[in-house]
Symmetry: C2
Subunit: 611 residues, 2 copies
């Protein structure tokens, strides 16, 4: 039997595969786990790949059913249906990968002209001399020697050396035999390192629940390492208001929260650096984005005015500080830039998302949504932006849900119900194909959509008596996975209370969307594109989100899931001065709709809770 | 008996005194203690005052003997000889005051056009509003509100607010009912305080042995408080080489020394502020001067290259850092400026002294000497400056001298010997008129001059047998104050070893002076003026210093004692941008003569040790 070479991008797994194996099997053998809810029979449509080069087998009827004509024309295929006909290069979109294979930090990248704030050059200097040697007397101090070297050897006019660089410069010059690599920013030397090495930057998306870090080569623009960790402040409250309230009541708690997050970022930087064999003191520039509360708590800014009407931030414009003034252990003179905020509850992460999705440049009507513990929504109407914030809560991240869990081993990430003899059968994909132990956010959303589709809950969210529904302590719940199949010693269910939590969360989001549209005199049908950002938003089944009324009922092709766009925005601000300026302009030009002052909000919210 | 009102300046003591009491008694009654070595008989010439206004009794023959015609023409008189004839205003030069009355930090001030780097304005702002009130919606963040207030209310364009100010701004705005006083520097808000208060600066002369601090009102130029303290680093070595060597060998010692001095400066700032009822967080600007070792140890800069040939500083140009980066607890965004250094052993304190004495502007040949544990000497030849440094050691400060002591209660500060029946009689002035317990620097110098004048030591410094000289453990010593008169249970003596220590100290200084002159082809007689700076230099009897060959043998009127000129220079750099620029130019344009490479040095040094 003949075989072909297949190359899965952007993961970069490559190997030889037999021509009589479906692609989904080839992928598995090469360590690429694709989502597979239907068991490979071509009904769930989740194992999509895009052909970049080479030829695959003919499109099957199952593929025609699950993919639009446009998707097929773009080379999109189902990996369970297609076979190799030649050597192939295939792109695996993040939404086709099971959770552990996505780093939860990836986002759709956009091209950017490299123009970082920091550059580096290498110097070879003459040592000082009393004049007995050949060079004559040269008693210049070390700082002058370096600054003059920059001018003479590189025509770079630098005016000063950061004090923390000065503190290490003299012994380093002598240890390195007067050869030095210096990083420069705006006329200041901010790092003095070994004669050769990369110019590194750190981008951070500081979420309420998760923190994503990216180590970036500032000269090539390449992302060298990515990593996601939990925000350790979670012990002080799951949502922003909880944490900010703690911080406002107790300066000690505020200080401890600041310490926790800076320690976490220092650990993240160290871990990212370790992955590529460098140390954090080589990082010369950092960009951090987060919502206003995360932004304020990280910088040690007061939050009282943020959580009390009229909810104003201490600072809106971008903030640039020395890394040391934010307790970050990077290169001695490194700076940290925090993107600007828009308003009290629309922060720098939102601006970063807008930057990465280029929402302000889009024609027509675009809705950009970053779903998280706090959900920010931006409506772009012919380039005019208005944003708002909805307190969607942590339900989408698995919290406050009976069998909710984080996206870890054994979590059901995708789920379908089919009618069976004795009630319903549940088809699902778990993380790492392990026995199911709970539901992560996307699984919860699928579960709600399915029990609504099958009438197990009605439009008001009330669970009906019937097959699979049982009462525990007077409360109804629907059994998704029976005790015998579950990886727990109990069944996995979705409860009436879970349904109510999800209705509150999605209702807040939908009401926000509707009020933004109404303020512009637009109806939902006028939306040309819905951009869904954020880790959770990237994994959800958009059809499920539409089915439960979380998102407007628009044709599937109008939705675009872009992954962690806030992280991508942070990287852009790291790589380009122009993008940084663009972010400042974006923040200033984005209008803000305060929902709490809109009398319409309560009514809309109540309506939007329906399923 | 009639009486008149007398006003002693600059101390500011004023009161009514009878016309039949000599001025020295009037002064004492008003709490002004003038130096009185001869017991008020007009022979020591130390109790000089200058008439500013009013009429005194006729000049006596004793005054004619002790004062030059020029001094008399300037209104200089001896307080033990003169009486009031009308209400008078008198100036008491520092050298006429006993030590406790001089703060040890005073210096001759020069006029300066006020142009400090920091200014302050007061804002009255409107609070943010959701729009229900009269002002309409105004959800600007606190930073923008302040920056726009500056622009609109004061036409001041500020671009940013220091991060540490942002950390306190929001609650302060609300606590002060939106009234705020802000201090600005170069487009940055560096302090946000109570609606009214002074704009304060701190000047520090960071000496090897002593630290002098000045609290200055930046808007009036007035010095509000002054204080001198000991440098606590002294536990790590008495001289700069000792301390720098410790720092180079042990990073822990270096860190501890830095900590000691920054703690001392924070304590000094707190004490100065307490004296005028303010707190150090109101200090918006600081200037620190010190020799290169003190400069480097304070900033935490490496010192290895400073104490090894070819002895180069880590940095020569002025260094400006945030106070927090130098561990100083001042206003949140305050800066600390360290004046530039000239070379490895000619530091910022020397530059400050040159700035305060305006040596570079003088015509002719001027020698400016700052005597301390390290003595820096600058030769100005028609405005062209060359400096050098001599390791004079701590002998002049009372260290390594058998009965040497700091200028504290009971220290003999001035001394004369007269021949008496049974040998010699010692006339002296002690600090606080207490029984003598030792000799401070100026007393030591007087003692050496007197025993040389009377032939008790010969030209080589060898002590002769004779009256008053005794041998203790095989070493000769001269008894200055007998056991019965002394405040100790022993006699106070000057030993052969003391004489040798002083010869080494003064020899190094004189050799430096001679080599500087020779490098310019000048002889000592060509010197038009000798400016003597530094606390010690201000208290010494110049005649004694000339007598022992420490200073060139020139007419008395060519000497000018200017007090702590380094401290005055620090104040100038605090009050004037122009003076700061002048200091940078001075440092760059001052040549440096390295004595250790001069083969002449050893010979000159050996010669200059003679008395």
């Amino acid at each position: 039997m003949n075989s072909h070479v297949v190359d899965f991008q952007p993961i970069g797994r490559r190997g030889e595969c037999p021509a009589d194996e479906p692609l989904i099997e080839c992928a598995r053998e090469l360590g690429v786990t694709l989502v597979n809810v239907c068991g490979g029979v071509g009904t769930c449509g989740r194992c999509q790949v895009v052909v970049l080069e080479g030829e695959l087998s003919e499109v099957t009827s199952r593929e025609r059913k699950n993919l639009t004509a446009e998707q097929l024309a773009q080379g999109r295929r189902l990996a369970c249906q297609a076979y190799l006909r030649s050597d192939c290069r295939l792109l695996v979109p993040p939404e086709s990968l099971t959770t552990p294979q996505r780093t939860q930090v990836e986002g759709h990248e956009i091209p950017v002209r490299l123009d970082p704030l920091v550059r580096q050059v290498t110097l070879e200097l003459a040592p000082p001399s009393l004049g007995s040697g050949e060079g004559g007397e040269d008693l210049r101090d070390d700082e002058t020697r370096v600054l003059e070297g920059l001018r003479v050897q590189h025509e770079v006019v630098a005016e000063r050396i950061d004090i923390d660089v000065l503190r290490v410069l003299s012994p380093r010059l002598r240890a390195q035999d007067w050869r030095l690599r210096v990083a420069l920013r705006d006329g200041e030397v901010i790092h003095a390192g070994a004669p050769s090495g990369p110019l590194l930057g750190l981008a951070v998306d500081l979420g309420t629940t998760k923190i994503a870090g990216y180590l970036v080569d500032l000269e090539s623009g390449e992302t060298l390492a990515t990593e996601g960790i939990m925000n350790p402040q979670i012990a002080y409250g799951e949502d922003v208001v909880g944490r900010a309230t703690r911080a406002q009541r107790s300066p000690e708690d505020a200080a401890r929260m600041q310490e926790l997050v800076t320690e976490a970022l220092n650990g993240l930087a160290a871990s990212l650096c370790e992955a590529v064999g460098v140390t954090p003191d080589e990082i010369v520039s950092a960009v951090v984005v987060g919502n206003t509360a995360m932004h304020h708590l990280f910088l040690g800014l007061p939050v009282r005015q943020l959580i009390r009407s009229p909810y104003v931030p201490a600072v809106r414009d971008g903030v640039e500080v020395k890394a040391r003034d934010a307790q970050l252990d990077l290169a001695p003179g490194a700076g940290v830039y925090l993107l600007p905020n828009v308003a009290g509850y629309v922060g720098a992460d939102h601006v970063a998302m807008l930057l990465a999705t280029e929402t302000a440049r889009a024609r027509g009507v675009v809705l950009a949504i970053d779903i998280g513990t706090n959900t920010e929504v931006c409506l772009a109407n012919q380039g005019r932006l208005t944003s708002t914030s909805c307190a969607s809560g942590p339900a989408f991240e698995g919290a406050h849900i009976e069998y909710g869990m984080r996206a870890a081993r054994g979590a059901i990430e995708y789920l379908r119900l089919s009618e069976a003899e004795a009630g319903y059968r549940c088809h699902y994909q778990t993380i790492s194909d392990a026995p199911p132990v709970g539901l992560c956010g996307s699984g919860v959303l699928d579960a709600l959509a399915e029990i609504r589709r099958l009438g197990i809950v009605d439009r008001t969210g009330r669970m009906q008596e019937g097959p699979g529904v049982r009462a525990v302590n007077g409360e109804r719940e629907f059994v998704l996975v029976g005790e015998e199949e579950s990886g727990l010693d109990t069944a996995i269910t979705i409860t009436q209370k879970d349904v109510r939590e999800l209705q509150l969360a999605k209702g807040a989001m939908r009401a926000g969307i509707q009020l933004l549209l109404e303020a512009q005199g637009l109806s939902e049908e006028r939306i040309d594109e819905v951009v869904i950002a954020g880790a959770f938003g990237s994994y959800i089944n958009v059809e499920s989100a539409v089915a439960i009324g979380m998102l407007p009922d628009l044709p599937p092709e109008r939705f675009r899931q872009v992954g962690n766009a806030a992280g991508v925005g942070a990287k852009l601000a790291l790589l380009s001065r122009e993008k940084r300026r663009e972010a400042e302009t974006l923040a200033r030009n984005t209008g803000y709709l305060e929902l709490s002052t809109t009398t319409e909000f309560r009514r809309r919210f109540a309506e939007a809770m329906g399923l």
